[in-house]
Structures are given as C-alpha cells and as structure tokens.
Symmetry: C2
Subunit: 339 residues, 2 copies
C-alpha cells in the first residue's frame, strides 16, 4: 500500500512514519511506499528507507500534483501551531484551513477520476474546546462536548473535522478525525505553540538548562506521550467505520495532570536538583491562552478502540529519557541527569 | 449608516430590506444607504428606493471590490440551498463556504486598512444539527446541542458559524450567527431546498393547485414565519454583545409542528376542500434528508432577546394569506380559497 503523511518531517509525523515502517504493514496490508511531505526534510533514517519518498515544501504548493496520484491511506498531520496562528491570521488560514481543503479536493479529484477513496486520518486537537459564556467547559471535555474554540488554531481544526466528515459522507474519503492531546515530552527546542512549555519544563531541566513555567502550578492539562499519540493515530486508522462510531471526531486518551504533579514526577524520576531548574514566571499572554483550554479530557470512544492513557506522568518522563538515551545526542539532552 | 445585505434579492433578503427601509433605522442609526447583492435583481419596490443600490452577480465575484468599501452593518444571507448543495458539491463549497470566507476577508482587508469593524449577522441554519451514532439528536435541539450536520449545506453553515466567531474574536467584525428555522410559508415556486415542501403543502392548495407531501404526516419540524425570521435577524443585529451571550451561534425561535398539524391548521383556516388538495406520496430522497433533521428546536438565548415563536401554525397561514391578499397577484396565489 502507498501512504501519504503530511507533516511527515515533523516530530510526530516522523515518529509515526518510523513506527509504521518498523511494523511494515497497516490494516493488514504491507506498506510498499510512503510519501512524506513537510516544509523541512525528514530525519536521515527515514530518508534512508527505500520505501520513503520525501517532498519538501508547503503542503499547499504540493496539492495540485496530488490530484493525479492515488494513495491508499493518508495521515494528515501538517499544521501551523497555535501560537503561530494567533500571531499571523493569514498563516493560520493558509496552513491549517486552505491546505486541508486543497488536500481533500485533490483526493476528491482523484476519486472523481475513478480512483478509490483513501482512508484519511486527520489530526485534530483538544484546542477545539474552549469556554464561551453560552458554553461553560465541563471538568473533562468528552467526545461529544460542544466545541467553542478560543483560538484560530482550534477554529481551523474544528472546521477541518467537519470537512473530513462531509467528504466522508459523500464517499470521497474514508475519513476519521482524532483530537490529539498535548504531546509531552517533545524533544528539541521550544516551538511556537502556546503549550510548548508543557514539554519545556521537563526537557530543559533534564538537559541541565533552566526552564520557565509561564502558568501557575495548579494548572491542569490533558497530555499524552508521543508513543501513545502515534499508537492512537494508527488505531484510529485501523478501526472499522462501525468501531470508529459515526463521523464526528473522537478524543485520543489523555493523562489529566497538574503542572505541580508533572514537576513532582520530574523530582521522583530525575531528582530534586533537576526539578529545581524550573522557575515560575507568569507570562500573561500564554497564561491567557492556556486559561481557555480544558483542564482535562475523557476519551470514551478511543477506549473502546483499546486505547489507554498513561496512568502517571513519571511513565511519560521515563519514556522520554529512554528515547533520549537511545539517540546520538544523549550527552546533551540528558546532561542535567549527571550534573 | 450603510448596510450590505447579501442575498438581498431573495425572498428573505428582500423582506429584510423592506422591513429595514420601512423602519428607517437600525440600532438607533438612520439607514442612508443599502447595498443588495444577489444573483438576481431585487423586486421593483426596493429598486425604486433612493437608498438602495442593487448589485447583480455571484457574491464571490463581488467580494474583491468590497475590500475598499466600508459598511456599518452586514446581513449575510446569500446561500445555495440544501438540495442544490447535495446535488452539486462544488456549488455548495463555492456558494456557501468560499463566498463567506471571501466576504469576511474583504471586510478584514478593510479593517486592516483602518476601517471600523462592521456588525455582521450571519444566517446559519437548523440544518447544522443531525444525528450521528456518537451524537443522538435530542427531542429539541438547543443553542448548545452538539451539531453533527448530515448535509453539505449544514456542514458549510456550521463552518461559517465558526469563521464568524473567530473573525469576531480577532476584532475584524462584530459577528453574530443566528440559526434560521425552516421559513414557512415561502411564496412563489418550489426551490431546490429539501424543505421546500413545508411551504408547498400550504401554498399550492391555497392557489388551487394539488400538492404532494413527500414525507409522513407524523414528521415534526421546527418552522418559523418570514416575519418572525426577519424580526429575529434584526433583534440579533441590535443585541449588545453581552446580550448575545458569547460568540457561538444561537437558534432563532421555532414553532415545532407536525405535518399533520400543519394540514389540520390549513383545513381550519382555509377549509377542508383546500386541505384535500394535499396528497401523500413518499419521496425516498427527500424523506431520507428530512429524517436526519431535528423534529424540533428550542431557543433559550433568542427568548432572552425578547424573540418568541408563533404559538400555532394557523397564525402562520393567516400571515401568509394576508401577505398574498396585499400583493398584486392575489387572484392567483389565493385562487384556491374561492374555488
């Protein structure tokens, strides 16, 4: 089978690609070809795989060519992040809304020309939820909680959920939208996401660097590890339409955790000296955005697909440390552990 | 003040224009200029008003010019109807999604160039609601019921609700989305809407013509008269942001009525000979679409704005007969009453 992963050069996309290539098959069919699109090329190990073809450039510049190219399956992960979309309204519209529309229309053109409708997994986000005077947020946002997004990022994700549902209804795709929780711990450097610090307050101290937490320790948030997130995307792909249950989006499982608990887990796993590298310094802009996010999420439909959240944050930190230890730059990323 | 009404040549748009011109003011300000855009020109009485300027053509072909033209207020009513959108996917995307986006972006360009953000009322629809295996429909859909649209029309309306909310959040417009119930009794000839028969089974018998009802008499539906619908759009425009309550869309008031009750009211108002002109002949395509519509709606937020539904369908029929009697073609439209 031939797969397309948009955002396939990014952290999550590359991890999904790596996982799928290692499995060798998806939904019972061997993966013979995998196209990765992204604004930057994917990591070298992926480029070295003979099944992989990387295409570098904005997705919107690549969709015209996709009209003539059939795929069996698509993971649509490409996206500008929340902070970027708040700072640049046009960028958000272009990267998150127009690109998705163009991708869906390229697939539709292919199907209209006689191609088979591919299975499409769209990575939506817990950011579709937010409080509104007419819609107070529940303690845990559920699959069927009414979304009232408070960012352009969340708005575009929600809009694309509904495009995916309607293109599915019309038979152009077999689409499923899965709402990702905040993926933690992300490796590398901070990105433009307002949620970036949820990774930073773990990653930086482990690397021996001071980290600033821009929100109060009492802030609660639904998070998921990279591994569980990738597992979730694959399970959603492999689910039958009946098991997916309808066309509306589902929540992927979350560990609902307070910042204070994250830091306690850091002390437990890595010691109090590492924990001490996190300093609280409130950033009103970020705190304001985060205040409009749900404190936790439930995932009833995902649990019926066999997906489970981590039960404690220490597990997530240990997974990150294991990932780092296996990578060539372990001396840097885990420098804080030996100090 | 200068107003724009898109879809201003259509039945509801022209009626809104006429009502506003007769009032002479909106939200306390005199109406000095009113631009009506539509694919067809508005009725002669509107064209004769010195405040009115008609612009004929698809909205999408007019939005570029709007980038340099400030408006104080906008009623965005232009839309392809549900049946058309189901039959022609591209038409639906273009007329209902791309046109709204282009209109909002034209306004945004104007505001970015120093203009004042206009107040914008977007006419959404009860068609945003539908059943999904994960989201069963309640007996009455409420302001905060989770929308799961089952048509492209409903999907695009819902998407535009969220665009309006986000452009409002960013300060480009002061936007409000109001979900219209099925407007009954529409004058004229059947249109492409799957709901067209809700008017036809009253209008045709009154004109002395046989009408076919394509669904069972037990089908219940939320309807509203043209007058109450126009009153609703104006009240939503005039509401303060606080009174509108948040940025999510609200339901306009509905009379929730069964087809059987509509026909009983017709017999009551116009006599059993008129009622006898309605024949039941099930149309699977239309019945299938209607089966995915809610049987009724509530309108808590609209009632706080002082808006009320009719209490019985006979009132709505009498309003229609009064409208017809005042029009030049009363001999045709009410021919069935004298037979």
């Amino acid at each position: 089978m031939k797969l397309l992963i948009t955002g396939g050069g990014g952290f999550l996309g590359a991890r999904l690609a790596r996982t799928l290539l290692a499995r060798g098959s998806l939904a019972g069919r061997p993966i013979t070809r995998m196209v990765l699109t992204d604004i930057a090329p994917p990591p070298a190990d992926l480029l070295a795989d003979h099944r992989v073809e990387a295409r570098t450039g904005a997705l919107l510049s690549q969709t015209d060519a996709l009209r003539d190219e059939p795929f069996d399956g698509v993971f649509h992960l490409a996206s500008a992040v929340s902070g970027e979309c708040e700072a640049d309204f046009d960028l958000g519209l272009r990267s998150n809304l127009d690109s998705t529309r163009a991708l869906l229309d390229a697939i539709r053109a292919n199907v209209n020309a006689g191609g088979k409708a591919p299975r499409v997994v769209f990575s939506s986000s817990v950011a579709v939820f937010g409080p509104d005077p007419a819609v107070p947020l529940p303690a845990l946002v559920a699959d069927d909680t009414l979304p009232a997004p408070q960012t352009s990022y969340g708005t575009h994700k929600l809009i694309c959920e509904h495009l995916v549902a309607d293109y599915t209804r019309k038979g152009y795709i077999d689409g499923r939208a899965a709402r990702l929780m905040t993926v933690t711990v992300r490796p590398g450097t901070p990105n433009g996401a307002a949620s970036s610090f949820f990774s930073g307050i773990i990653r930086e101290p482990l690397a021996g660097i001071e980290a600033i937490c821009p929100v109060d320790a009492s802030v609660s948030h639904p998070v998921s590890s990279p591994t569980r997130t990738v597992d979730g995307l694959i399970a959603v792909y492999e689910a039958s339409r009946e098991a997916f249950c309808g066309r509306t989006a589902l929540n992927l499982p979350a560990l609902n955790v307070r910042v204070a608990d994250m830091l306690d887990a850091l002390a437990e796993v890595a010691g109090s000296a590492v924990r001490a590298r996190v300093r609280f310094e409130r950033d009103e802009r970020i705190a304001g955005i985060v205040a409009n996010w749900p404190g936790g999420a439930s995932a009833t439909r995902a649990s019926k697909l066999g997906l489970k959240p981590h039960t404690n944050f220490a597990e997530i930190i240990r997974q990150y440390i294991d990932d780092c230890a296996a990578a060539p730059n372990a001396a840097q990323t885990l420098k804080g552990l030996s100090q």
